[in-house]
């Protein structure tokens, strides 16, 4: 039996639309895949899904009716992981959700391999979200915007924006995901998603000095000083240090890369 692959645009709406199509067309062996991951294969039937808000809404509404709030969270957060086969794992979870007599418990069956796998992925995504809450380092630019660049392992920026909005309600800020080429900007009233085109890829991990406030460097020096002074040398434990602050994040951390 040939599998049918639904190819979608990578958005959450697109994914939900694909789920709708799977059910509407009663496909027996469905697969859902992002366009960027898809490679045409002789043995597959494939179909391009056109994202349809109406269809996506219908699926999301049905999920809302029967799933627990934790399960909804699980579905969205797992999706943000961008793992290559996450769509199929989620499709498995949704099929179970739509057919079981105990839909409220569906995300808690940790003896089901795939459900357990999804819960582990969600844990990874949540950890990454939490890391970004911690590792964002704002630099004040001349136009008075606190600006930070990040490069998270998963697409967690949508999850971070509420946290930063609650916290920095009285300052303009911009957090830019340089891997996914978009950012969120808070203009003192609301959050906007911004896409910035850079003409070259150089210096994406640092903001050029001429755009920063004159005192910005001095504050970074103070922070570095604090970081060094608060360390207890006789308890040195670099293994633990690196476990908590993995090296891939260092280039964005003032205290690790220097000023």
């Amino acid at each position: 039996m040939k599998a049918t692959t639904f190819i979608y645009d990578g958005t959450f709406e697109g994914f939900l639309t694909s789920v709708f199509e799977v059910y509407e067309k009663k496909v027996v062996y469905p697969k859902i895949m992002k366009q960027e991951h898809y490679k045409a294969s002789f043995f597959d039937i494939s179909e391009v899904v056109i994202t349809d808000t109406h269809k996506a809404d219908r699926v999301w509404k049905r999920i809302n009716e029967i799933a627990s709030s934790n399960a909804k969270r699980t579905i969205y957060h797992a999706f943000l992981s961008e793992q290559p086969t996450i769509e199929n794992d989620l499709l498995y979870l949704l099929k179970k959700l739509f057919s079981t007599s105990t839909p409220k418990l569906i995300d808690k069956d940790f003896s089901d391999q795939i459900i357990l796998k999804i819960s582990k992925i969600v844990k990874m995504v949540d950890r990454e979200k939490h890391r970004m809450d911690a590792f964002v380092r704002f630099k004040l630019t001349l136009d008075n915007i606190y600006t930070a660049i990040i490069e998270p392992d998963f697409n967690v920026l949508p999850l971070n924006s509420v946290h930063f909005k609650n916290r920095y309600a009285d300052q303009k800020w911009l957090i830019y995901d340089s891997r996914r080429k978009y950012g969120v900007f808070y203009n003192l009233i609301e959050i906007q998603t911004v896409e910035i085109e850079f003409f070259n890829n150089i210096a994406l991990d640092k903001i050029a000095k001429e755009y920063l406030c004159p005192n910005e460097d001095a504050f970074q020096v103070l922070w570095k000083q604090y970081f060094d002074s608060t360390n207890i040398v006789s308890r040195k434990n670099l293994k633990l240090h690196i476990k908590h602050v993995p090296k891939r994040y260092w280039k964005y951390l003032v205290e690790k890369r220097g000023v």
Partner: protein
């Protein structure tokens, strides 16, 4: 801001504050008001970690390291020949705000050496917190030190601005305190702690009647004890700790392995190791008491005044009570599951949920993530293969020790084996 001068002060006063291990920024309920700055209603965040692996969540500094006391264990003691410095109130406020706006920190942890007297010092600390709250509309986390001997009125005021208050008893026994800090009195620590505890109780009951009651120290109180400075046993530390948890309703007790900073012959000499493993075992015990439903008497008592170093305290308890095992993971209640070595609270949660769907076998348990190398001797599940039941506790201990490689292995094996080096040469 004179950045050069501030940098020097930061160097001295952050260095002097680092032996206070508390860095928690969680448990508060302060939300952002009127589009101000900051919010501390969520979970705590560790913004970075020092090279010793400790979390950096707050700007932890002393207001000054001038001190009228001469406590032997303390680096800022009067008789110590070190550089002294003092921040101005406004400098601390500005530094906190500029760090917070850059997302370096969750807030401020302000402590101080005691200059003039307790009240005078406490007043300065309160001034900083008050300025932050009232002039800067700052809703980030503030942890203030309660200064020994501070008056009830000041402690009342401090709680109105701070999220957490703490006062370190430092030395677990009165005997030790007399030896190392003869100028200090237990009573001077207890009084501010008692006042804060009472205020928190009063706040909670008033809050039920009057919604607008101003919040008082929403993240509660904590304290710290130095481990290994005054020759105390683990039992003495943990019984003191659980007394304080109960009596003053503390949120946390911190245990700080003594870092030698003095040639005073009352103390471990400079160059001796920080007792990191012991500190770790004490924290494990603390967790068992607060989250796993253990009673202190089960873990430490007359027969066992010190914790085992080679195995964790839960495993020690299980081996002493080997007759209570094996436990059936498919039937046991939550409290019993939490007592099985190798099963943590997250695994308990997963087991309880998963077993509603089907009986769990070894594969399920392994996938869930419990440490089978310890747990397997203490449980049965939906499987025909079991660890042999007629082993003694001592045999099980030997098997477990043979199967794990502890990161602390060197720190207990060296004490036991004087000839370690020689053996290596021979073999």
């Amino acid at each position: 801001m004179n950045f050069e001068r501030i940098k020097e002060k930061l160097e001295i006063l952050a260095d002097a504050a680092k032996y206070d291990v508390s860095c928690s920024s969680s448990g508060s309920k302060r939300t952002n008001k009127n589009k101000g700055l900051g919010d501390s209603s969520g979970m705590g965040i560790c913004h970075t970690y020092t090279e010793d692996g400790r979390c950096v969540s707050l700007l932890k500094i002393l207001l000054t390291n001038h001190c009228i006391y001469d406590c032997a264990y303390c680096v800022t003691r009067r008789s110590n020949d070190i550089k002294r410095a003092a921040f101005k109130v406004q400098e601390v406020v500005d530094l906190t705000i500029s760090f917070y706006r850059r997302n370096y920190i969750e807030g401020l942890f302000l402590s101080s050496g005691i200059f003039k007297n307790g009240d005078y010092t406490m007043e300065r600390l309160i001034q900083v917190a008050k300025k932050l709250r009232e002039e800067e509309n700052f809703n980030g986390y503030i942890h203030l030190k309660s200064i020994p001997g501070a008056s009830d009125e000041l402690m009342r005021e401090a709680g109105l601005y701070a999220d957490r208050l703490s006062i370190n008893i430092e030395i677990p026994t009165e005997k030790g305190l007399k030896l190392l800090a003869p100028e200090k009195n237990r009573k001077d620590f207890i009084q501010p702690m008692q006042k804060v505890a009472n205020e928190i109780i009063q706040y909670k009951s008033e809050k039920k009647l009057i919604k607008s009651t101003p919040i008082y120290a929403p993240a509660g109180q904590s304290t710290q004890m130095i481990v290994g400075a005054s020759g105390e046993t683990d039992a003495e530390i943990m019984y003191t700790s659980s007394y304080f948890y109960k009596k003053f309703n503390l949120k946390r007790v911190y245990y700080s392995g003594y870092v030698p900073i003095s040639y005073d012959n009352r103390l471990p000499s400079i160059g001796s190791d920080v007792p990191i493993l012991r500190e770790n075992r004490l924290y494990q015990t603390d967790w068992l008491l607060r989250f796993y439903g253990f009673d202190i008497r089960e873990l430490l008592n007359k027969e066992n005044p010190n914790l085992d170093t080679d195995i964790d305290p839960k495993l020690s308890w299980a081996l002493r009570n080997f007759g209570n095992f094996p436990i059936d993971v498919n039937r046991a209640d939550k409290n019993m599951l939490a007592r099985i070595p190798g099963i943590g609270l997250k695994s308990v949660y997963k087991i309880i949920n998963a077993r509603r769907f089907r009986k769990l076998n070894w594969e399920h348990l392994k996938a869930i993530g419990i440490s089978l190398n310890r747990a397997k001797y203490f449980i049965v599940c939906d499987s025909r293969t079991f660890e042999s039941k007629d082993r003694t506790a001592a045999q099980v201990k030997g098997l477990i020790l043979g199967s794990i490689k502890s990161k602390f292995h060197h720190s207990y094996s060296n004490q036991l084996n004087l000839f370690d080096g020689q053996q290596k040469i021979i073999s």
